[in-house]
């Protein structure tokens, strides 16, 4: 879901820019030297994940996976997902320049929200519990993203509201699929390298040892 240049009112564009800058700034403060390689690597991974197309009905959708990014990165999801969006805008022409702030908030804010809601559940040593919370994070992040985009459109003008409502409805299958994928990914991590879910930086930047 990339909003394009020209679609939103100036107030919404400016508000999005300010919020995104604040989030990125806060995320960068959590990212010290030790975390640059891991954060860069995860940024690249989520960028590659966004190129994966998953079949859905007769068509296909590309993955966003911001819920998983939030679980692993916390506030650092802001700079990480911003870099992904920036590269997509510059080299692929997805989205635009002035709406970069709004797009960043739409993708990264749900990631941070899901981090706070689901992080403890995912740390559980019981696989079923962890997978369930991961699925909630994956689906919930997409749902929140759809809500943020809807809000941005609704604040721009009433004529966008019917389209925005349909957008949320159209995303119900995507919510289910991303939730399921996020759950499966965490199931695999739980089996292969469970410490990854526990040792990754928490929201306040310090490593968490559960």
């Amino acid at each position: 879901m990339h909003v394009v240049d020209g679609a939103l009112s100036n107030e919404v564009v400016i508000a999005g820019g300010v919020l995104a800058a604040a989030g990125i700034g806060w995320g960068l403060r959590k990212m010290d030297m030790e975390k640059i390689p891991a954060a860069g690597m995860l940024t690249a991974t989520f960028f590659v994940a966004s190129l994966i197309h998953v079949p859905i009905g007769p068509s296909s959708v590309h993955l966003i996976m911001n819920g998983l990014a939030g679980l692993l990165l916390g506030w650092m999801a802001f700079p990480a997902l911003f870099v992904g969006l920036l590269l997509q805008a510059i080299f692929f022409g997805y989205g635009g320049i002035t709406v970069l702030g709004v797009n960043t908030v739409a993708i990264a804010l749900p990631a941070v929200v899901m981090h706070y809601i689901c992080r403890n559940g995912v740390k559980s040593t019981q696989k079923k519990v962890a997978v369930l919370w991961a699925a909630v994070a994956g689906g919930g992040a997409i749902f929140t993203t759809a809500l943020v985009v809807t809000l941005a459109l609704a604040l721009t003008g009433e004529e966008f509201i019917p389209a925005a409502k349909l957008v949320v409805l159209a995303h119900i299958p995507v919510i289910l699929i991303e939730g399921f994928l996020c759950g499966s990914a965490v199931a695999l991590i739980h089996r292969v390298k469970p410490e990854l879910l526990r040792d990754t930086p928490s929201a306040d930047g310090s490593p968490v040892h559960a």
Binding site: V4, D5, G40, T43, F82, Y94, I97, E159, F180
Partner: protein
């Protein structure tokens, strides 16, 4: 090779564009970044169709002068998010105003159609200018240019890191997909597909975090102290001054034409 040519070959750069010498490639990357941002900020304020047509013409001219391959670039420009296309198609029917035509029982208004065309023109003009001006900068050089433009160093490091490893991870992704194909995996609409792709993602995350630990160890071993040395030196030359001057005139002309015809 262009003056600000790539030392690290990368998928991210617009293929072919950097191998040909064009005036766009020879212009200072910093000037190009600022020019693209200013252009976007001007274009989104435009209302009149004269000015928007003019902006689109500028975008097209830049695309041609940047020497980007025409067919694939146009495809990129026209590929908008399906949700945006959908929204644009809905606009004529949801905007209140004078009824222009009917589709079945739905009434389309003139204001809605004009609004949708306006958004499409703005979006395309900006994307064209950006692909031509910024998309032709090698990703590494772009990072250095952004740093010179006072973008926080941490953010530039993050960007350089991900640019470096996107290629590596893409290769890894294709290797894993190949392994899946060798085991007769065919994507379809079923839980098996979704679960397998989820596992694939999980595996990529595990591997990339393990790789990042190795990278950090190797970097520390070489005395990494949190600072990358961004070594590109840019020279703002006469050519860049002329470009900036012409660009400013064009933007003023755009705003003026919007003011007088708007």
């Amino acid at each position: 090779m262009s003056q600000y040519g790539p030392n690290v070959s990368n998928v991210m750069r617009a293929r072919g564009a950097l191998d040909t010498q064009t005036w766009v490639n020879r212009t200072d990357p910093r000037a190009r970044v600022i020019a693209a941002v200013l252009f976007a900020c001007c274009v989104i304020t435009l209302d009149s169709f004269y000015a928007l047509g003019f902006a689109l013409a500028i975008g097209l001219f830049l695309l041609v002068s940047a020497g980007l391959p025409a067919a694939s670039t146009m495809k990129k420009v026209l590929t908008m998010d399906s949700f945006i296309i959908f929204m644009l198609l809905m606009l004529p029917f949801t905007t209140p105003g004078e009824v222009w035509f009917h589709v079945g029982s739905w009434e389309a208004t003139k204001e809605g159609v004009l609004k949708a065309v306006e958004i499409a023109l703005i979006a395309n003009a900006v994307v064209m200018a950006m692909l031509a001006l910024v998309g032709t900068i090698d990703a590494i050089t772009l990072g250095h240019a952004l740093n010179r433009l006072r973008v926080p160093e941490n953010l530039v490091h993050l960007m350089l890191f991900s640019v470096r490893y996107i290629d590596v991870l893409k290769v890894e992704y294709f290797r894993l997909r190949n392994a899946m194909r060798a085991r007769c995996f065919k994507p379809g609409n079923n839980l098996h597909t979704y679960r397998s792709i989820g596992y694939l993602l999980g595996m990529m995350l595990v591997r990339s975090l393990e790789r990042s630990e190795r990278i950090l160890a190797a970097m520390k071993c070489r005395g990494f102290n949190g600072k990358f040395y961004l070594i590109s030196n840019f020279h703002f030359q006469k050519r860049d001054r002329i470009f900036s001057l012409i660009w400013l005139c064009l933007l003023l002309l755009l705003l003026a034409s919007d003011y007088f015809y708007g």
